[in-house]
């Protein structure tokens, strides 16, 4: 079965929007609360490879993206969630599922100030130890 169909079957109504920007780029919008479970399904059951995560500071919310690669077909599945609370953005950490996500979550934590609930080792990765608290370099300054 095609990976697209397998994902649709496994996730069903968790998918809020399915968008294919080109033949191998699939963007899925999800609800923030489902993210841990969805990543677990993609990584553990469907054996997609985790590429990285990234965040974007939009005016109304933080857009949070998880990129997964289905290597046999060369497709990239991107999970998109929105963190509407711009004062205190929070999301469940996916590091307990696999250690490969530890560094990127630490990077996003220090660059955007997004808190990862359940991260085992949330400390600075790239910024200096004495970097001023509450100053997040990749947030857009008002």
């Amino acid at each position: 079965m095609d990976m697209r169909d397998r994902i649709k079957e496994k996730l069903q109504d968790k998918i809020k929007e399915w968008k294919e920007t080109s033949t191998k780029r699939i963007f899925l919008s999800l609800d923030k609360k489902d993210i841990y479970r969805v990543v677990e399904i993609l990584f553990k059951n469907l054996e997609l490879r985790f590429i990285t995560a990234s965040a974007v500071d939009l005016p109304e919310a933080f857009e949070f993206l998880y990129h997964f690669s289905n290597d046999p077909s060369g497709e990239i599945y991107t999970l998109r969630i929105l963190l509407e609370d711009k004062i205190k953005p929070e999301v469940a950490s996916i590091t307990p599922l696999f250690p490969g996500a530890e560094w990127i979550e630490r990077e996003i934590w220090e660059m955007f100030g997004i808190n990862f609930i359940g991260h085992p080792n949330l400390k600075k990765l790239l910024l200096a130890e004495d970097w001023p608290q509450g100053d997040y370099p990749l947030r857009n300054k008002q």
Partner: protein, 400 residues
């Protein structure tokens, strides 16, 4: 009795593309834990990229890494071309061939660099000198084709900036002909040498399961039996029109990583030869792209160290809104946490180097006694320790 000592490796050397600081916790000879601290050379390129217009960004991202310096601009161009409708639909035919040639030439020089340093670390300085000898003509060739030995400035959105002239092709072919016996020499010298086998086998192991969990990429993953290669999985340039193989090993130790890289040299040479033969004569090399529409694009290439990933978000202006870069070492270096722990300190420098991160920082090794912070050994001592181990193995092995 446990006497825990911290061994700091690193952090930082201005020549390196990726400074990092390893803190090894050792008990006697054995490494029991490791802390990896990075960020010493964090330059804020993602943020800087948001202030450049689309045509300036390739020059910026080229400077992320001095060794795989075409991988980043290539991945960036692919990401932008993804918004425009895909590389194959945008970029002229001849430019696709030139892109693959430059990409593979870079892989040859990067892998030779790595081989030489592994040779140096285990005390085989002959291999080191050989590697440098054969790498030099590759760099000369880069200078001839692109104008620079490093940071080639070849890539732009919609094509390449310089043509490979017809009169340069014989020199390229001649270099490849001369390189092949050299690479063959490496294959013999490393794969048939009993001491190197003893020294590298079962050292710094990363199992297949661990490779999947740490999401490692490139030769590090392929040495552990994870069958990924972006050139085959999501072809770019002309890699899907040429005949070549993905090199796969299954043991995950340093020996496997070495074999993968040596055999990949042969594939790269073959890829360049085929590209040169099939490349159309004449024709345009640049699609002359003027505007980037709004949208999101993802581009990735197989850099010498693994998948290099770029994400671009455009809002239709002439600057990217967001540019996310994930270099392969970001995933590979993190996996040192499992591959180095459990090994001995004489293997540590080698294991940390096996994912091909940065070498100059391992030259700044120092062993410090935790009790009084006194320095026991410096970086050179640790490399010497590694070389001594090879010597002992050499003496205890009957010569063939």
């Amino acid at each position: 009795m446990s006497h825990k000592i911290i061994v700091p490796i690193g952090p930082y050397h201005p020549l390196q593309e990726e400074p990092e600081f390893f803190q090894l916790y050792v008990e006697g000879e054995k490494v029991v834990d490791i802390d990896i601290i990075i960020g010493y050379n964090h330059r804020g390129i993602e943020k800087l990229s948001e202030s450049k217009h689309f045509d300036q960004v390739p020059f910026l991202v080229e400077r992320i890494c001095g060794i795989c310096s075409t991988s980043h601009p290539y991945a960036y161009c692919l990401a932008v071309e993804n918004i425009l409708g895909g590389e194959i639909n945008v970029v002229p035919e001849k430019a696709l061939y030139i892109r693959t040639i430059i990409d593979e030439l870079q892989r040859i020089h990067s892998h030779l660099l790595w081989l030489g340093l592994v040779g140096h670390f285990i005390g085989y300085n002959t291999i080191w000198m050989w590697a440098w000898k054969y790498r030099e003509p590759v760099l000369d060739l880069f200078e001839m084709v692109t104008g620079n030995r490093n940071n080639y400035a070849m890539f732009k959105i919609g094509g390449v900036r310089r043509d490979i002239k017809d009169e340069d092709i014989p020199a390229l072919k001649k270099m490849l002909d001369e390189l092949l016996p050299g690479v063959d020499l490496f294959r013999g010298a490393i794969m048939d040498d009993p001491v190197i086998q003893m020294r590298l086998k079962d050292v710094g192991k990363l199992s297949r399961q661990q490779a999947v969990e740490w999401a490692v990429v490139g030769p590090t993953a392929r040495a552990s039996g994870v069958n990924i290669d972006i050139r085959r999985d999501e072809p770019y340039g002309v890699t899907d029109r040429l005949d070549w193989n993905v090199i796969l090993e299954k043991d995950g130790d340093i020996y496997s990583k070495t074999i993968v890289r040596i055999l990949e040299l042969f594939e790269s040479i073959s890829l360049i030869r085929q590209s040169l033969d099939k490349m159309p004569k004449g024709g345009i090399i640049d699609a002359d792209i003027k505007e980037i529409p709004a949208g999101e694009g993802i581009g990735r290439v197989e850099a010498p160290r693994g998948e290099c990933f770029h994400y671009i978000k455009s809002d239709g202006t002439n600057r990217p809104v967001r540019h996310k870069i994930r270099s392969p070492s970001f995933m590979n270096v993190a996996s040192d946490k499992v591959s180095a722990v459990g090994g001995t300190i004489s293997d540590a420098a080698l294991t940390l180097a096996a994912v091909d991160p940065c070498y100059c920082c391992t030259e700044r090794l120092a062993v410090i006694n935790k009790k009084d912070n006194s320095k026991i050994m410096n970086g050179w001592d640790l490399i010497k320790l590694s070389q001594d181990k090879t010597k002992i193995l050499k003496l205890s092995t009957p010569r063939l």
